[in-house]
């Protein structure tokens, strides 16, 4: 077969009776890229990931990893993959060390190398002090950390991550984000689904957007900023904003609408791009309003996401 990328979906379709979860998905993930996989609940994100990780079979079409058909050459296809899918669960009677040893042995790791690697990855995810405790007692966040450790254990070149920060506290989320950035530097291919647009915008090189099982866009993150300019800003003032001040802002010629969200916060819809956004700031300050913060109401990615999802309905 001809394969252009490390991961490839070829006319991938999955139907559950009359419900089509995935419709003729064609996708190529090139080596060394971090691809964010976005879509609302029920869009087909997890279905795609489950097909790529041998959890379900496609109704039609093919999923290839490193050129191997996942359905037919499962062992070879998944040899260089680390995957976290949905909420990870572990055997409660095993400890983190034993679990990772088990997973390592399945992958052909052994001896002193496996022991040191288990210790290393448990250190990375900060679970070392619980390495000999039974997993049955672990919290959701601790299990998520262990899942990340299991993905890193064999140093795979392809990582398939389904909501990798789910269940983590803010510090944990930041650590995972840093980890993904580090993995990107090591030229790993990362295919990551997420609900958190900011997270994807911060970490991904490319973004796939799907809805109702169909691919809507597959673009570079840099391109999004060009294609989808945000045209709303959030303004936070030092003092309470009076009705007169709101009327004055609404009267600025660039402004289309002003929405007050609290005494000191407003969202302003305006016409134009970056230059007009800067001009709007100057005009608001000319009205004598002391501004504490001034930022786009949504990111370019969020703008694209909302617009395309709306159009696809």
């Amino acid at each position: 077969m001809v394969s252009k990328g490390v991961m490839e979906a070829e006319g991938l379709t999955k139907a559950y009776g009359r419900i089509v979860a995935l419709k003729d998905l064609n996708l190529v993930v090139e080596k060394g890229l971090c691809v964010g996989y976005l879509g609302p609940n029920g869009a087909g994100k997890t279905t795609t990931i489950k097909i790529f990780t041998n959890l379900i079979k496609a109704t039609s079409g093919k999923a290839y990893i490193n050129g191997f058909d996942v359905a037919l050459e499962t062992k070879k296809a998944l040899a260089d993959v680390g995957a976290i899918v949905e909420t990870p669960e572990f055997y409660p009677y095993l400890t983190p060390s034993e679990t990772l040893t088990y997973l390592g042995k399945i992958r052909g790791m052994d001896g002193a190398f496996l022991i040191s690697r288990v210790k290393e990855v448990l250190d990375i995810v900060k679970l070392s002090q619980w390495r000999n405790e039974r997993i049955g007692k672990f919290s959701h966040g601790m299990k998520q950390r262990l899942a990340i450790a299991s993905v890193l254990l064999h140093d795979p070149n392809i990582l398939i991550l389904d909501e990798p920060t789910s269940g983590l506290d803010p510090r944990g989320i930041e650590e995972v984000r840093e980890l993904i950035t580090d993995l990107k530097r090591l030229d790993k291919t990362i295919f990551m689904s997420s609900h958190l647009l900011y997270e994807v915008q911060e970490t991904a090189d490319k973004v796939v957007l799907i809805n109702q099982g169909s691919l809507l866009r597959y673009v570079d993150v840099d391109e999004i900023a060009e294609l989808f300019k945000p045209d709303r800003v959030i303004i936070e003032s030092l003092e309470k904003l009076s009705k007169d001040q709101l009327d004055l802002i609404a009267g600025i010629d660039l402004v289309e609408a002003v929405i007050q969200t609290s005494d000191k916060h407003i969202i302003v819809n305006f016409r134009g791009e970056d230059a007009e956004r800067a001009e709007l700031l100057d005009k608001v300050r000319e009205l004598g309003i002391r501004i504490l913060s001034y930022k786009p109401a949504v990111s370019a990615l969020e703008e694209m996401y909302l617009q395309l999802i709306k159009e696809s309905k």
């Binding site: 394969s3 959890l55 070149n157």
Partner: protein, 277 residues
């Protein structure tokens, strides 16, 4: 894969080649699964139950004939097999789906067949430890009290081994088709302990020999201690004709082997296609 360069191809090849053999993966799965029985204390509980049963039997009755003695001691062996396969294999496949551990193991470079057969081997080992321990205690008891060893113990053990294989295959098959661990374990136990024996009794009453039922076939494991081997009989009580059937050794061996193979194949077929939805 002509879109990839030689360096990439070599790296992929190297990764694939470092994967262990199917046999090694089978051993890994089996040994870690066995840890579950040890940690969960299921095995320990079964060994304790076996010890109590043998000691109670010895305390109640000690026939001078060694064959009668061991036949008494092994009277509950098929019940122990049913409990063992329920505990060690009753939820083997379905638990990966219900408890979501499938999300951990199915994305591994591991064929599902290897996972299933590894679990089967582990459950077989655990069940045979219980059965073997029961036989060992029984033989020691007979030898210490009667000073002689009963004949045909080896054959009886072989027949029980066949019953363990077939009962475990049934347990695995049920486990592959069911959606919940509790339902799967209950159905396994009920089928082997209540449903099959009830059908067996009903068929006997109707004058049909239930040679095709695995629980009936398993009877050969203790019946071989009887000399001569019992034959089917019919007795008349007024208008009621009572048939007493005994399993034939050769047919029963075939029946148990067929159950073992067929049910395991059905389990395998279902488990490799079952989806982690």
């Amino acid at each position: 894969m002509c879109g990839k360069n030689v360096e990439d191809m070599d790296a992929i090849k190297e990764r694939v080649e470092t994967l262990p053999s199917t046999f090694k993966q089978l051993f890994t799965v089996s040994s870690f699964e066995f840890l579950k029985f040890l940690r969960g204390k299921r095995l320990l509980a079964m060994l304790l139950l076996t010890t109590i049963t043998v000691f109670l039997t010895v305390a109640i009755s000690r026939p001078e004939n060694s064959n009668d003695f061991i036949s008494n001691l092994l009277a509950f062996i098929t019940t122990f097999v049913v409990i063992s396969v329920t505990l060690f294999g009753g939820d083997a496949v379905v638990s990966e789906f219900e408890r979501k551990t499938g999300y951990l193991v199915f994305p591994l470079p591991l064929e599902r067949s290897v996972l299933i057969f590894g679990k089967y081997l582990s459950a077989l080992t655990a069940s045979m430890i219980v059965v073997g321990y029961h036989y060992l205690l029984s033989i020691i008891s007979v030898f210490l009290i009667n000073g002689s060893l009963p004949s045909k113990v080896g054959l009886s053990f072989l027949y029980v081994f066949l019953y363990v294989l077939s009962a475990l295959s049934i347990a695995f098959m049920i486990s592959a088709f069911m959606k919940g661990t509790t339902g799967s374990s209950i159905l396994t136990f009920a089928l082997l302990f209540l449903i099959f024996p009830s059908i067996q009794s009903a068929l006997s009453f109707a004058g049909v020999k239930p040679w095709f039922l695995v629980t009936f076939a398993a009877g050969i494991s203790t019946l071989i201690f009887e000399h001569p081997y019992p034959k089917d009989t019919t007795e008349q009580f007024g208008n009621i004709t009572l048939h007493i059937y005994y399993p034939e050794v050769a047919i029963s061996i075939i029946v148990m082997i067929v159950y073992a193979i067929l049910c395991l194949l059905l389990c395998w077929k279902k488990a490799i296609t079952k989806e982690m939805a």
